[in-house]
């Protein structure tokens, strides 16, 4: 473990005199030399590791559980995750719990995620939701590089403020940059930058007073209209849902809601619909989510 500083940082309103800032990184590769996907060349430094590799649906699919033992990212922390899925391998990555961006004393907390999916390979990126505490200063990048016919689907669920405490995101900043490329060409991009109490959170063009935003993408296949319609009918009363399919991918689902569970429920339902046509594999949600 490599701590870069030992200075007071305030977490959840209380001073943690001994809280250190962490730099952590993990770099991993999943390959499938004989039809069995396996985790290899997993290098990590600092508190980030693969807790388990599971095979709930046969040996072609390796399910990785990514663990960040501190449980949240505080001001000054820097996390880096690199995952490369090699030819014909299939990996699914999830996390055992919600990610947290803690209240910061002013320093930036950052996480950079770089995913590469090779020809013939498939990656499912399904971390649990990220909760952005009030006064967090969070910066995240997520880049997805697909090669040739690589398939990739994943989601990003963000909760602004801790709902259990009726907390609003009143100060701080949440920045996130997501981009999806195929053979180097940019297919889709979102730059997000939201200040605490941002006008956008109340605006009818923005979050319209919701607190939970969800995004799901799937690229590497051509969805037919019937499938898109099924996705469109997967909503719930308190969740606003939009589904679109861009001519050269990805299929994109956006939801806004007020409960992370509901947003996840709707997106899981859609993932269930997409999995057979996209990956040729039956839908089965990771068991860790129900524990």
């Amino acid at each position: 473990m490599s701590s870069i500083a030992a200075r007071p940082v305030v977490i959840m309103g209380r001073p943690y005199a001994q809280r250190r800032s962490w730099r952590a990184s993990i770099r991993m590769q999943v390959d499938a030399p004989a039809g069995r996907s396996r985790l290899r060349d997993c290098e990590h430094s600092g508190p980030l590791r693969i807790q388990k590799v599971l095979y709930p649906q046969g040996e072609r699919l390796a399910q990785l559980l990514l663990l960040h033992p501190p449980g949240g990212i505080a001001g000054g922390d820097q996390l880096a995750v690199e995952l490369s899925v090699e030819e014909n391998a299939h990996a699914l990555l999830t996390t055992p719990g919600a990610g947290k961006w803690y209240k910061s004393g002013g320093d930036v907390a950052r996480q950079d995620v770089a995913l590469k999916v090779a020809a013939g390979a498939a990656l499912e990126w399904f971390p649990q939701e990220a909760i952005v505490f009030d006064e967090a200063v969070a910066e995240q990048t997520l880049t997805i590089d697909c090669t040739a016919d690589a398939r990739c689907c994943g989601w990003d669920i963000v909760v602004l403020g801790r709902q259990a405490r009726n907390e609003r995101f009143m100060a701080g900043r949440w920045s996130q940059h997501i981009e999806i490329r195929r053979d180097g060409r940019l297919l889709w991009l979102e730059r997000s930058r939201i200040q605490g109490d941002d006008e956008l959170l109340k605006s009818v063009v923005g979050w319209n007073r919701h607190h939970v935003s969800g995004l799901l993408w799937a690229t590497g296949f051509t969805p037919d209209e019937a499938l898109i319609d099924q996705c469109r009918s997967s909503g719930e009363a308190d969740v606003i849902l939009g589904v679109t399919a861009l001519p050269d991918g990805p299929l994109l689902v956006r939801v806004l809601g007020s409960s992370a569970e509901q947003v996840r429920e709707v997106l899981s339902r859609i993932w269930t619909l997409l999995r057979p046509p996209l990956l040729g594999i039956a839908a089965q949600l990771p068991r860790i989510w129900s524990t």
Partner: protein, 214 residues
Amino acid sequence: MGALLQLSSPALPVGAFSYSQVLESAIDKAIVTDAASAQAWIADSLKLVLGRYEAPVWCRLRAAWDARDLVGFSTWNGEFIASRETRELRAETLQMGYSLRQLLLATGNADIPGGDLCFPAAHACASALWGLSPPLALYGYLYGWLENQVMSALKAVPLGQVAGQKLLLAVRPRISGVVEGAFAIRDEDLSTQAPMLGLLSSQHETQYSRLFRS
């Protein structure tokens, strides 16, 4: 002055009148129901959507064009296209960009980049070729957008002509601030975040009754 008026006029043959840029969907979902809610929608779009991304990207495209920086121009053009997150919004910017390029080619300007061109990129080129200063040209770009939004509201809410002029009077003074901000903002502060806009644009694809293509 003449070039500015011509480039900002609804008579410019780029088909802007056929796009409501999600306003029609907001009306269908009863988010916009009258002059006041139309004004809120349009003013927020101007400040929070165009102001945080489209206008600053226009500035970057124009600067790259003026500096003959074709790599920079192509990067921002590609990024803007990729940031149009729905089928309709992407088709709209590409069609309008294509039409403006055709117009420029037909009027003797051969020096226009090929390939997919988003509307802000084509507009930035046109404004340079027609000798407009960047702030003035961006003002014209945003005013043209505003007028088109108001015309969409007139047809789809619907609103009367006087209500439309009142809307223009109310929102027009905010354009200058957006122009100033667009030239000042740093790359890392750009934001495309507008989830309701994206959602409602997706929903417009299957809207039962539609006057507009976006």
